[in-house]
Assembly symmetry: C2
Homo-oligomer: 384 residues x 2
């Protein structure tokens, strides 16, 4: 399951006591080799949490022996002391597993601006090391949840004999430059660090980077890919990249499906753009329009709000050439009233908004959620 679907990995998830709720809050993923190549992608937020700064540094070596992840605290905006806490965590993992701390990535998620309770966390590391198991992937996925209502895992197995599997957490502060989330993907394919890096960057660019639940970018986003080489099979490059992409896409879709307070998963498809960058920009601008997100929550095919959003971008298009469909009904044609809006059925959880710019051949898809009273409720009461 998840990070232990591929051979050569053990994992665990335990209740260290970091969270007041008493639910599992510490996960460990260990690569037993024989290979240790790894790659990582991190938040593009300039305010980076201590574990992100640490793990970025560790990944420069292209090797990971283990990943330790905690929920219950983001260890962001915690100054020099916060960085020392991350370092101490990696050291404790290294000691427990007899590996170098310089090959241990650290991930944290939770409230910003609060120090982690190290007197609780460090004993938790010992506990997690003792609980490591070849079928521990599910326990690990459970231990990294914050406001997630379900844990998220995915996997793909190649007929060639290797597997890619992963786990993710994230339910709020989901926006590009990686949705707010922690993701660990493992594989038993025999792949080097450069191949992993290329596959991971290619995959995140069109999956996690195109999930934008609430426009808010986190300080802690981390996606890691570890290869044990335990299958002893060197994968075909394209097939491997596609498997990593598929696992990332599956996990990204699960993140949207479990976003805080959401009642709709919205697929924004922009076609006919002059360039892919412009397609992404337009799709993201639509995805961030609060008025449209409210309208979709109310199952109101208010295409005027789609046009008002598109009009704020600098993408190439002519206003009187824009077509917009909601769930397949072209309610706006040529920038004006199109087919009967009463034909639109928005009763399902998934809603598709399609905008054709008629300015070229490029296209992109961004996923978002509706804006609901439950979102407001969850996020107005989070830290108190």
């Amino acid at each position: 399951m998840g990070v232990t679907a591929a051979r050569g990995f053990r994992a665990s998830g335990v209740t260290a006591g970091i969270k007041a709720s008493g639910t599992p809050d510490l996960a460990l993923v260990v690569n037993d080799g024989p290979g240790y190549a790894a790659a990582g992608v991190f938040t593009s937020n300039r305010i980076k949490a201590a574990p992100v700064v640490w793990s970025e540094q560790v990944l420069k070596g292209g090797r990971l022996a283990a990943v330790v992840l905690n929920s219950g605290g983001a260890n962001a905006c915690t100054g020099h002391e916060g960085f020392q806490d991350t370092h101490a965590t990696a050291e404790r993992v290294g000691a427990a597993l007899d590996v170098s701390a310089a090959e241990v990535a650290v991930c944290s998620t939770g409230l910003i601006g609060v120090r982690l309770p190290m007197d609780i966390l460090l004993p938790g590391v010992e506990q997690a090391a003792k609980a490591l198991a070849a079928d521990g992937g599910e326990a690990a996925a459970i231990a990294i949840k914050t406001t997630d209502t379900v844990h998220k895992t995915a996997q793909v197995t190649s007929p060639a004999g290797w597997t890619v599997g992963g786990m993710a957490k994230g339910a709020g502060m989901l926006a590009p430059g990686l949705a707010t989330m922690l993701v660990v993907v493992t594989t038993d394919a025999a792949a080097g660090a450069a191949q992993l890096d290329a596959a991971l960057r290619g995959a995140t660019r069109t999956t996690f980077d195109r999930v934008d639940s609430d426009g808010c970018m986190s300080t802690n986003d981390t996606v890691l890919l570890l290869a044990s080489g335990a299958s002893a099979v060197t994968p075909d490059g394209a097939e491997f990249a596609e498997a990593v992409r598929a696992v990332c896409a599956d996990l990204a879709r699960q993140l949207i499906g479990d976003a805080e307070g959401a009642s709709k998963d919205i697929r924004i498809e922009v076609t006919g753009a002059a360039t892919e960058d412009e397609a992404v920009d337009v799709a993201r601008t639509i995805a961030r329009n609060n008025l449209l997100k409210c309208a979709i929550h109310g199952e109101d095919p208010n295409w005027g709000r789609v046009l008002a959003a598109i009009g704020t971008t600098s993408a190439a298009f002519e206003p009187d050439a824009l077509d917009v469909a909601i769930n397949g009904v072209w309610v706006c044609r040529g920038g004006s009233v199109g087919d009967d809006r009463d034909l639109v059925d928005m009763s399902g959880r998934e809603v598709v908004v399609t905008a054709d710019l008629h300015a070229g051949d490029a296209a992109a898809t961004v996923w978002t959620n509706d804006l609901t009273a439950d979102y407001v409720h969850e996020n107005s009461a989070y830290s108190t």
Copy 2:
């Protein structure tokens, strides 16, 4: 009151029947001269409503005899027919007042993508022309309301003998490049079109352009300034510009105070920026962060969300030099935990978030609102 505070103007507000609610929905403002100089500022949205396209063209002449405004329909995304509707409205006003349609500005507000009921609107113009009165400013301000709970007027009188007065509507889709709104400002000062244009652009740049209730830019934003010259006093340039700014600032503050579903008015002050543009960019980015807006709704001084927002900008700053205060308590110092968050009192309607970037001497203020379940409710049920 409002647009009739200055001499030389008459106004009216009537119930034409455009709105199903049966509340006033058509306003007329007439300049009786002797001067007719005017200026206008319009939405920067590339999707412009028909009345915006019309009025921009009219204002090129620098003269206005009258302004007709309707609520109950935005006449946006209504194609060539929608533009003909606007033209016909201006013609009917021209005929009723014996002025050229080419000196009649038209403003519309309401749902996008729906044609106006011209069979109701045009007789309404006749009715409004008959109701014109020297004290009609309040009736006009009432007739342009959509989801506004109160009508908005402001005025400033100079010891030199001239007055600037205005009215505004707008309660949702409030964002820069003008908050979604219609604003008419009048003056009896003897000012030419160039002076009006300079004063109006200077005023909107730091008032309406820095109101960002929900990040959503409208297709219909219009701010007009008309001068009758009826005081026969040529104003001091700086004093006049300040009076126009003060009226715009007063109206902008009223818009924020009446924003859809809001329970807090949030003043985002960014100081220590390298440039004013960067200060505005950082302030606007903070103002658009849904998670922070939810936190403030919950009276939670969650400064981590302020830092996470700042970190997504490209403004000059060092992460470990950022200070953030909420209602005067510096809860974040040096990018990390500052003073005790329990000292922050957020019980009032107005909340001040101050971010000092320590990167220069520039500053800017942007106003926004909290994000509430009522906002979601109003905007998920708007067009249905």
